[in-house]
């Protein structure tokens, strides 16, 4: 965990004025250096540009200013190879079975059919979906559908895994268990993980480092090192340091969240 796997240099994002509206300075300037193999989380108040930051790194939207690099190469207009994204919303394809959904992740992979089949089988097994491989998403629970999306992302063996509030739609118990799953997968695949979340406990439990963002336009106002061992799980919430980390995150975020609420109140 030494070299910068992802680097953001003075990155800003502005959205042009839409009909009757004003231009929005959504994000930045942001400077970030995410280490290879690191589990990095970002927390911030609603509307601070967390998801925009993820889309910038994924290459889904271009930066207005600054430079973003992945493995030393600038992210331009093309989605870089080696990046996988799991979104908060259900992104499973309802017309495809679980197996076909996972296979979809290998559409562009130049692999022999045997290797593709093995990878799909492994990804399905890794996510505990073996007995549901012929089921359709509608036959699965929300948590299982999210597992399908994670399997579809992992099957391509991404070197950078971007998670945009992937457990936002799940209940608390399922979220904790999914958190354990993500930690296990992170150790197994060795990818760098970039997690966007609004849940402070989730960030404190999962990440090696947590960036705290300000209210819009979002900038990084605090960086918290958790110093957790790599071999960890959800039982880490029982530790004393866990409380100290979440307290520090909340202390920094409280004022920013109030700014956001004040802005919303003024708008109303």
């Amino acid at each position: 965990m030494t070299s910068a796997h992802v680097a953001l240099k003075s990155v800003s994002k502005r959205f042009p004025a839409s009909a009757g509206g004003q231009a929005v300075h959504a994000l930045g300037p942001i400077d970030l250096s995410i280490r290879e193999g690191e589990f990095f989380a970002v927390v911030g108040p609603s509307g601070c540009g967390k998801s925009t930051l993820l889309e910038l790194i994924a290459g889904l939207t271009p930066a207005s200013e600054g430079r973003i690099e992945f493995e030393g190469r600038a992210i331009g207009n093309e989605i870089p190879d080696g990046i996988g994204v799991v979104f908060q919303e259900d992104a499973s394809f309802p017309w495809l079975s679980v197996r076909e959904n996972v296979e979809f992740g290998l559409r562009k992979a130049a692999l022999a059919p045997d290797e593709k089949s093995r990878r799909v089988h492994d990804a399905i097994a890794m996510m505990g979906l073996g007995e549901f491989s012929r089921s359709y998403p509608v036959q699965l629970s929300g948590g299982m559908r999210q597992r399908v999306c994670i399997a579809r992302t992992l099957v391509a063996k991404p070197r950078l895994l971007l998670l945009d509030e992937p457990f936002g739609a799940l209940d608390q118990q399922t979220r904790l268990l999914m958190g354990d799953e993500v930690l296990r997968l992170w150790r197994e695949i060795g990818a760098t993980v970039f997690l966007i979340t609004h849940a402070l406990d989730e960030a404190a439990m999962l990440a090696d480092r947590i960036a705290v963002m300000s209210a819009r336009p979002g900038t990084v106002i605090d960086m918290v090192e958790t110093n957790w061992p790599r071999d960890r799980d959800s039982r880490i919430v029982e530790r004393e340091e866990f409380g100290a980390i979440t307290s520090r995150l909340w202390k920094t975020l409280r004022e920013e969240s109030m700014k956001t609420m004040g802005r919303m109140g003024a708008a109303a």
Binding site: L60, E78, I79, F87, D90, F93, P94, F104, Y136
Partner: protein, 250 residues
């Protein structure tokens, strides 16, 4: 058999029996309409005689051609228009008022341009169906969740690949609805055109039989058109139900 299906069959059987009773009682006179059992007998005789096979084949070929053109061009146009907001907004008023235009009024003009062959009939069937397909395709594409498009982008798929493997499969139930509309309009356009101004086809034969009081030909042909459109529509509806059930929408 589901209870609803039993009700549906009972309603149809009841209406046929009522018609039979009204015809046999003389409430509806024989010249206006023969009783349903007579139509059924004439229908079998007509099919066994085989003298109208050429007309039936010609009409069906034109219906299928009009349907295929309206469906394929409609889907491609709808998909392309979905990507161009300005073009779509420009054409929206035309789509909204399109079915107020009596397309049949242009039939003589089409004959002048294309002659008395099959061209004008196929064109009418196509023109009636194509806009319904475009509008239904746009409607389906509007409902594709943004996250599926983002997933396609992350999988590094281009616009064509995204349309073929993500957006169009997502709106498959809408495309089946579009197919049902295109098929219905193709039947209306082609048979209607043959009825007005043609020298062959099922529509022409119905018109010819009508002017000659030939109920033994007219009603069986009407029944044949009815059965064909019901069967084709039924197949599409079945697939629509299968797709919707797979998505938990029915």
């Amino acid at each position: 058999m589901r209870r609803v299906r039993i009700y549906q069959i009972s309603v149809i059987a009841g209406l046929v029996l009522l018609l039979e009773a009204l015809c046999l009682a003389g409430v509806i006179d024989k010249i206006t309409m023969p009783p349903p059992h007579r139509i059924a007998i004439d229908f079998v005789k007509l099919l066994l005689a085989g003298k109208l096979y050429r007309e039936i084949g010609k009409s069906l070929a034109n219906v299928l051609l009009a349907f295929a053109l309206a469906y394929s061009i409609g889907i491609v146009t709808g998909t392309v228009l979905h990507g161009y907001k300005t073009a779509r907004e420009t054409l929206d008023p035309l789509f909204a008022t399109y079915y107020a235009i009596p397309v049949f009024a242009f039939y003589p003009l089409f004959i002048v341009i294309f002659g008395l062959g099959d061209g004008p009939q196929v064109l009418i069937g196509f023109l009636l169906g194509v806009v319904a397909v475009i509008v239904t395709t746009l409607n389906g594409l509007d409902r594709v969740p943004g996250v599926l498009r983002k997933t396609a982008s992350i999988c590094r798929m281009g616009a064509f690949e995204t349309a073929m493997h993500v957006t169009l499969p997502f709106c498959a139930p809408y495309l089946l609805t579009a197919a049902k509309l295109a098929l219905a309009y193709a039947f209306i356009g082609v048979i209607g055109s043959e009825f007005i101004m043609a020298r062959s086809g099922m529509g022409y034969e119905i018109g010819y039989a009508y002017t000659n009081f030939d109920n033994a030909t007219m009603y069986p042909l009407i029944l044949l058109i009815l059965l064909l459109s019901i069967v084709m529509n039924g197949v599409l509806t079945h697939w629509e139900k299968v797709l919707l059930a797979r998505r938990g929408q029915r």
